[in-house]
């Protein structure tokens, strides 16, 4: 029951985030293109640099859980393939927990950074966009990444029992 809930939640969250990331990537492409046309015509779009930087952060942050779920990161199974069932299980769970710890800390650090940026009122130079939005969004994305890694650890445990 819990496993199914975790699977459904992580799948839906990462899928929705990937759609938003894709939309942000297309928006970056179109905005940059429009800015160039505007520049040629003598009226560039103000703040393009700032919007593209922020949207770029969203593209990668929002795509992170989906990429992890699709096993899109570089890894090797040289040692893993040679190990017995139990050792393989221990190693697989251990590596997931390293991932969980690192992204929990990164998420916490990002939220703390967002709180500091919000308190200081730091904004971009042209459009006065607050930096903390991106920090909070990245922090949230890292916590969804943690959810994906918890799901993967649970899957390892479930497949061991089966």
């Amino acid at each position: 029951m819990m496993g199914r809930l975790l699977s459904s939640l992580s799948y839906r969250l990462s899928g929705t985030m990937e759609i938003c990331a894709g939309a942000a990537l297309i928006a970056i492409m179109l905005l940059t293109g429009a800015d160039i046309v505007g520049r040629v015509l003598g009226s560039p779009i103000p703040g393009t640099y700032e919007i593209v930087s922020f949207a770029g952060g969203l593209v990668i942050g929002l795509a992170l859980p989906g990429t992890t779920r699709a096993k899109g990161h570089v890894f090797t199974d040289i040692l893993l393939a040679r190990l017995s069932g139990r050792a393989k299980y221990v190693l697989a769970v251990m590596t997931r927990f390293i991932g969980i710890s690192i992204f929990s800390l990164a998420g916490y650090g990002m939220i703390m950074m967002g709180i500091r940026l919000q308190a200081s009122g730091e904004v971009t130079a042209v459009l006065s966009l607050p930096f903390y939005y991106v920090a909070y969004a990245l922090g949230g994305a890292f916590f969804v990444q943690v959810l994906i890694l918890i799901y993967e650890a649970a899957e390892v445990k479930r497949s061991r029992h089966e």
């Binding site: 297309i26 922020f54 090797t76 950074m113």
Partner: protein, 433 residues
């Protein structure tokens, strides 16, 4: 404990974690974080983690990576490569080894709009190998050439590898693109010569096919004209200083999208697929860059790069010998880890050493690029060869035997780069002072 010793322990731990099957980006981040916490403090390490990921992900400069990947993915999914191959085939098909020559020419032109090595190898495996099978070409030649042509994507602009190298070594993307052109074309030329000599020695490898009329040849030219125009506008605009690399990526993606939509080569499903693949590839690369940034900060405070540079300078060996050893390390590292990932991991350590030895940053980057080209077709982790094997269902032994002559071309290019560094530096020095 000594700072350098902690740094060395960190690097050993990194190797162990990676062998244990953890994603390289996560392993680099974890080791960098723990090392930084040991040498400074836990709160400082948490701050570093957040700041490094924020700076990497929300960076205008790094947005170029998913954009150029998108441009290549759209070109890949629209079947553009097939048209380029067909055009090249009409011009060279009748000469000995002509279809193999067409594969090299087609891949070189396809490279103008796609930066992916693996996409090129996969595309030409499905297009060129069946065609060469039809005309009785040896599988050794056909699989060897398609596995090797993919590597051209590493040096010829707009190369994803060169963009990442420029970012992590703080160089101009435009200058590095220019630096890759002459060695990239030299390698394409060496591939041509390899095919001609090989087919000259063993004519049975590649039976001749009838020549195509000139009228038909000229009729197929528009198929390569438009992609080359996109390349000229994108890379030309970047080199002329009219676009930033991120703008060039956007213009390239829009132009390839417009071209494929107007020609009705791309449907909505393939467009969505291209965007999805671009997100995953871009995220994979930027996670590696983020992880390497965290690890790099730990390395700097552990003083490993400066200690390595000092130690190397005290060795009193020829600087070329040091770079040759580095090349060997890249090849060995790339044999166990994905070549691109190893490049992102090792370059921040080796690049400062090469600079202290007085090498040109562009020259060193291109040498790394050629080394990576060798890596992607060299066992045990020869990704390009694996892809060709899987698509063509040929044995690995035959693919490797076919790759061998092309591998010699790559080594010859590496030697030429050591003998004539001007091959790399002349064009950027001439055009972008």
């Amino acid at each position: 404990m000594n700072e350098a010793l902690i740094g060395c322990i960190g690097l050993c731990a990194l190797l162990l974690f990676f062998l244990a099957g953890i994603e390289l980006a996560f392993a680099m981040t974890f080791v960098g974080f723990v090392g930084f916490a040991c040498l400074r403090s836990l709160p400082a390490a948490v701050d570093l983690l957040a700041k490094d990921f924020f700076d990497t992900f929300a960076s205008y400069a790094f947005v170029v990576i998913p954009l150029f990947v998108l441009m290549g993915q759209i070109a890949f999914n629209s079947g553009m490569a097939e048209q380029m191959y067909k055009t090249a085939r009409k011009f060279t098909g009748h000469v000995p080894g002509g279809l193999a020559l067409a594969t090299v020419a087609g891949a070189t032109v396809f490279k103008a709009v796609s930066g992916s090595t693996l996409a090129t190898a996969a595309t030409f495996s499905s297009i060129a190998v069946p065609e060469m099978d039809k005309y009785g070409y040896s599988r050794k030649l056909s699989t060897g050439v398609v596995a090797s042509v993919g590597t051209l994507g590493i040096l010829l602009p707009p190369s994803g590898t060169l963009i990442i190298l420029a970012m992590i070594t703080d160089q101009s993307v435009g200058r590095l693109f220019l630096a890759g052109i002459a060695p990239g074309l030299l390698i394409a030329f060496l591939f041509f010569m390899t095919i001609l000599v090989w087919c000259g020695i063993s004519p049975s490898l590649a039976p001749r096919r009838p020549a195509v009329e000139w009228k038909e040849r000229l009729r197929s030219v528009p198929h390569i004209f438009w992609p080359l125009l996109v390349f000229a506008v994108t890379v030309g605009g970047l080199l002329a200083g009219f676009f930033t690399p991120t703008e060039a990526g956007s213009v390239g993606a829009i132009a390839v999208l417009a071209l494929t939509v107007l020609k009705r080569d791309l449907n909505f499903t393939n467009f969505v697929k291209s965007v999805g693949e671009s997100l995953r590839l871009g995220c994979m690369v930027l996670m590696l860059v983020g992880g390497s940034t965290v690890l790099g900060h730990f390395m700097v405070i552990s003083q490993i790069p400066s200690a390595a540079a000092g130690w190397t300078l005290n060795l009193h060996v020829h600087p070329y010998a040091v770079v040759a050893v580095m090349v060997l390390i890249y090849l060995l590292g790339g044999s166990f880890i994905d070549d691109m990932a190893f490049m992102i991991l090792a370059t921040p350590i080796f690049f400062p050493v090469a600079m202290k030895l007085g090498f040109d940053p562009m020259w060193f980057s291109i040498v790394i690029g050629v080394t990576m080209m060798i890596g992607v077709v060299t066992p045990p982790v020869a990704v390009a060869a694996f892809i060709v094997k899987n698509i063509t269902r040929e044995s690995m032994g035959v693919v490797y035997k076919g790759v061998l002559p092309f591998l010699l071309s790559l080594f010859l290019c590496l030697v030429l780069l050591f003998l004539f560094p001007g091959l790399v530096t002349y064009l950027p020095d001439l055009l972008m002072r």
